[in-house]
Symmetry: C2
Subunit: 247 residues, 2 copies
Amino acid sequence: MQSSASPLDFVVRKLATRVALDERDRAAILSLPHVVRTCPPSSYLVREGESPHKFCALILSGLAFRQKSTAQGARQIVSLHLPGDFLDLQNLFLEISDHNVQALTALETIGIERDALRQLTLHNPAVGKAMWTEAQVEASIYREWVTNVGRRDARSRIAHVLCEFALRMKAAGLCAGTRFELPVTQEQLADMAGLTPVHVNRTLRSLVEDGIVHRDRRFIGFSNWSEIRALADFNPLYLHLDQIDPA
Amino acid sequence: MQSSASPLDFVVRKLATRVALDERDRAAILSLPHVVRTCPPSSYLVREGESPHKFCALILSGLAFRQKSTAQGARQIVSLHLPGDFLDLQNLFLEISDHNVQALTALETIGIERDALRQLTLHNPAVGKAMWTEAQVEASIYREWVTNVGRRDARSRIAHVLCEFALRMKAAGLCAGTRFELPVTQEQLADMAGLTPVHVNRTLRSLVEDGIVHRDRRFIGFSNWSEIRALADFNPLYLHLDQIDPA
DNA sequence: CGAAAACTTGACCCAACTCAACGAACGTGG
DNA sequence: CCACGTTCGTTGAGTTGGGTCAAGTTTTCG
């Protein structure tokens, strides 16, 4: 019966997509100590080498990404995150951060007290299961990215990134499915795909010329989902979007 | 006081490297229903698209790898596993397998009943924490692999794979550190690095010619750890080898 | 000992990179 | 609301790291 506008409601709703939560579980989540924060575009939320912060962040609105750099100064973006994604799951149980997390757009996050969230994850089986599912889906996406960057050519690689983003946005209820804003520079897209910005530019152009992708500024549209899906060699299984409340 | 030679002792020892376990935790682990199995080289332990098996496997001896294929038939190896690694963590909480797991060498595994392990993970905080740490270290390794395959040239990439393997083997007490057997064909190495077998052959040869790597059959040696480490741009932080019992 | 698998090597090719310049869009302050 | 600096996108020309194809050679193993 609570009409609360607490940002923790958002967390409850998120976790409830992964597992059935009873009243007690919900109450436990809703009593977690937390803060709401906003971060400007490209600010760092986590830096490689740091110890975990007091709060574990989840995105309420906006986009973020994870990134590592090589000694030669090349950057690789290793994942993209949208509202409902945890940005700090790794730091819940590891003591030193192994990569950077950066805001892509302006970001609104809820920071949940690390200790409390860890205790809840370890002691409440329903919450624990939801958190495990989140973490395992994230790992599955990493595996797909290794494959994408390791074994697909530039066209497929870029198309694959676009397909994944479209589908995750749709699953999060943030776009209709075949048209969406991807607020990413071509340089950032290059860093996701393991390509150079120049080559991304040309490849993206060729996708547009072939009528597979429409583009206006940072807005992307697909003419034909099954066409781009085939080109991208995109099999949505790895997103485990059906992994919802198998109770 | 138990002198048991149960393979579960191995699991206890493994998890005890991640978290302090008391007698009750140990007893709970030691009572898990399980089977020991052997698998011939290149047999499949998990296939993409499958539902989870009744048992969740952990390697007792031998090596295994995870692998995905593209529609064009290219294969990418996304991780390598050695004794003490879980092969089925993902299937503990996900309902469809998103990749293949294959034996690299002859394999001896302990299969722990999935349901029982899941319950223990969710209900026993110490075991839960150990399992989380395992899973998060695995995720960290995926991030590094995305970076390796996306942003390093062939020499560094291959050197990086060698460094990681050497250090993980050493950490597992399976080699001294600068000389070890890597029972992998050049084709498999290529599939780890996102290269072709021919190019792996030439690149490996050039590393040998430069005196950075020694090779005899499948045995690899490093002349100078800091030299290959620099070439590989290898920073062992991501392996979280110190992530041991922060109690 | 013989067949299959793994490793080598050479010759050639091309997808993607580099370098460099220019144009378009954005945002910020006056 | 315009001027202007900055970031982002676009394009051309030339280069190269790594791929392809194909033919040996060595190793492994039944």
